[in-house]
């Protein structure tokens, strides 16, 4: 979880900034808190839209990307400092990063009131429709007599105060998780899955037509996406965007990312469209899933997504029928979740598993024989089904324009059509290089 924290005053010795700095250090094992500076943000003026200025964008990006926001306000004239209000005006004009965002208001002040009135004003401001933040109710934290509150190392001196802060930050972390769940689409049945992506989730990039052929470029510009040699911190490692691309493009599978709003936002473009097992075009990235599937496939796509979203299944494995005995093309759909367990979309990979099977047979000296006792399994749940129950198995991905019929008998693929990619790479079972360290040589 990542929080951003903003102290509401500029250009002075700020006890609110000290408070946030203390929290960032003290709770660093619990949650990452990044302090955001607002000193350079220009005066809001609707006649001079600086939403795209560096200073406003810097704050916007940080807030937009955060799971939650902590605002620390002093009290000037019974209200929040103009500098803090000014930032919120920018973040409620053309940009709306606080929309639906969990916010915790705290405040430090020199005197006894501890910014109580400023906090109330700030809460009213945050709840206005243009801002639309979700402010944590109750749990006021007012640090009074701030001058005496910290020791020389910036630590809060009073044990009781720290304990109180402990209890609230734990609650806020829970609050962030709960609010995040509010953002998650919750279709009641598979029929309610919205393949037109009309809703939005907190990662949805608004203001760009999803069906635009240049969605990637336009959306990237909108969010100031990084590219090229810029480093991205990952769990677990550090890569530049270029390195990430090298890595994903050489995966031995065709990868696709559809988010929890059912928007197709990425594929790894490892091969030209005509060579792909499930052909995708560069212009399709960004499309709602409904736009990249023919109408007849929609019901099945919905079933697969719904099973993944609801947890009925974590992995759906679907064979593409009709590719002859030398190919067995599989579409796998894996549910993705965030650290809180919220469903965040489908990781789909397409792969021909015959080369792997042939390699295995060659290396082990085994062969395939029919098993008269084999029973069909459900592609969705992966468990045995009685023959009647599997009649409605979802169709495999249809961006490929592939399968005409829902397939329930993976053992008997019909020869077909689909993947015009007949120049399938032949496995070379004759010369397997046995690598002792890989453990591949056990037989």
């Amino acid at each position: 979880m990542r929080l951003v924290a903003i102290a509401g005053s500029i250009g002075e010795q700020s006890y609110n900034r000290m408070l946030l700095q203390f929290m960032a250090d003290y709770y660093k094992d619990l949650v990452q808190i990044d302090l955001v500076d607002i000193d350079d943000v220009p005066v809001f003026n609707e006649d001079d839209d600086l939403s795209n200025s560096e200073a406003v964008q810097k704050v916007y990006q940080k807030v937009f990307g955060a799971d939650g926001v902590i605002l620390a306000t002093p009290e000037h004239n019974h209200t929040v400092p103009a500098a803090m209000k000014n930032v919120i005006e920018w973040l409620s004009y053309k940009l709306h990063p606080l929309d639906g965002k969990p916010v915790w208001v705290v405040g430090a002040s020199y005197f006894n009131q501890g910014s109580s009135r400023a906090q109330l004003h700030l809460k009213q401001i945050l709840e206005s429709p243009g801002v639309n933040a979700i402010v944590m109710p109750g749990n006021e934290f007012l640090l009074r007599n701030a001058k005496e509150a910290f020791d020389d190392n910036g630590q809060l001196k009073d044990e009781g105060t720290v304990k109180f802060l402990d209890s609230i930050i734990q609650k806020f972390i829970k609050f962030v998780k709960v609010i995040d769940m509010l953002d998650a689409p919750d279709p009641k049945t598979y029929k309610d899955e919205d393949l037109e992506s009309k809703g939005k989730v907190n990662t949805t990039i608004e203001g760009v037509d999803m069906n635009d052929e240049h969605w990637v470029e336009k959306a990237a510009e909108k969010v100031h996406a990084v590219e090229g040699g810029t480093y991205v911190k990952l769990d677990r490692g550090l890569l530049t965007v270029d390195q990430l691309n090298y890595f994903l493009k050489t995966m031995p599978v065709e990868l696709t990312f559809a988010d929890d709003n059912n928007q197709f936002i990425y594929y790894n473009k490892s091969l030209p469209t005509e060579k792909m097992l499930a052909p995708r075009r560069p212009g399709q990235a960004g499309d709602p899933l409904g736009s990249v599937h023919p109408g007849r496939a929609v019901d099945h796509v919905k079933q697969v997504i719904h099973a993944l979203r609801t947890g009925e299944s974590d992995l759906v494995s679907m064979p593409v029928p009709g590719n002859g005995p030398d190919r067995h093309i599989m579409h796998y759909y894996k549910a993705m979740h965030d650290e809180n367990g919220r469903y965040r979309g489908v990781n789909e990979w397409v792969v021909d598993i015959m080369p792997i099977i042939k390699y295995y047979l060659a290396v082990t000296g085994k062969k395939l024989v029919d098993d008269p006792t084999a029973t069909p399994i459900s592609p969705i749940t992966g468990v045995d089904v009685t023959s009647g129950a599997s009649a409605k198995a979802p169709e495999t991905d249809a961006t490929s324009g592939a399968s005409e019929e829902p397939q329930s008998e993976p053992k008997q693929p019909e020869v077909d059509t689909t993947s015009g990619a007949s120049e399938e790479p032949k496995p070379e079972p004759k010369k397997p290089e046995v690598d002792a360290t890989s453990g591949a040589s056990e037989n």
């Binding site: 004239n77 000014n86 009213q124 401001i125």
Partner: protein, 210 residues
């Protein structure tokens, strides 16, 4: 004749709050001189060790000092007054106190139906703070909703009832200005307290607060 300073609470070029104040200036020209003052151009309020105040804020403070009262016309941004107006009020209470015991009338215009009601409520609390301590005319909200349609081509209020209400409120404000001048028994102590006011302490009466 009374002299009032009318503060336009926004830096937007197009503002129905400015239109309303211009209307008042014209309509009440016989009973008061109203000078319209802009807050556009003021920097965001910022505390410094030297307590620097921008020249323009000082000029506004001088105008207010010699005026009989102040009218503030505020729009509503995010349920509150614009940051630029908040900033202006902070400057006008930073090491100086032109608004101390000064009669203030609040008006508000908004494109929507509510007429900046929530911004006006916050503005009252702000003007009542120990750093400012203005004398806000009580029970006197003037909320001009749907303000884009409120004026005719000559900048006059279309609605008879609304213009009568404003006439009444303005007459009251003239009277309130006179009464305020008689509410002077605490002026000296207020002034003294204000001179002792410390932004760092948030109070001028530290002993009592502790």
């Amino acid at each position: 004749m009374k002299k009032f300073i009318a503060i336009v609470g926004t830096n937007a070029k197009k503002s129905t709050n400015r239109t309303l104040l211009q209307y008042m200036k014209k309509r009440y020209a016989a009973s008061a001189e109203i000078e319209i003052v802009e807050v556009a151009g003021l920097p965001l309020f910022k505390k410094t060790k030297e307590m620097l105040v921008p020249q323009y804020a000082k000029e506004i403070a001088q105008k207010i000092d010699v005026a009989d009262g102040v009218i503030i016309g505020t729009p509503e941004y995010d349920h509150s007054i614009p940051a630029i107006l908040s900033s202006a009020l902070a400057w006008l209470s930073y090491g100086m106190h032109p608004l101390l015991d000064k009669p203030v009338m609040i008006t508000g215009a908004s494109y929507g139906a509510l007429g900046a009601s929530r911004a006006q409520a916050q503005l009252r609390q702000i003007l009542d703070s120990p750093e400012i301590k203005a004398r806000i005319m009580p029970s006197s909200e003037f909320l001009l909703g749907n303000s884009l349609k409120a004026f005719d081509e000559d900048g006059n209020l279309n609605d008879q009832e609304q213009s009568e209400q404003l006439d009444g409120l303005f007459k009251d404000f003239l009277l309130f200005t006179d009464i305020s001048n008689q509410l002077n028994h605490a002026n000296v102590t207020n002034e003294k307290e204000m001179n002792n006011f410390s932004w760092d302490e948030g109070s001028s009466r530290r002993e009592e607060e502790k």
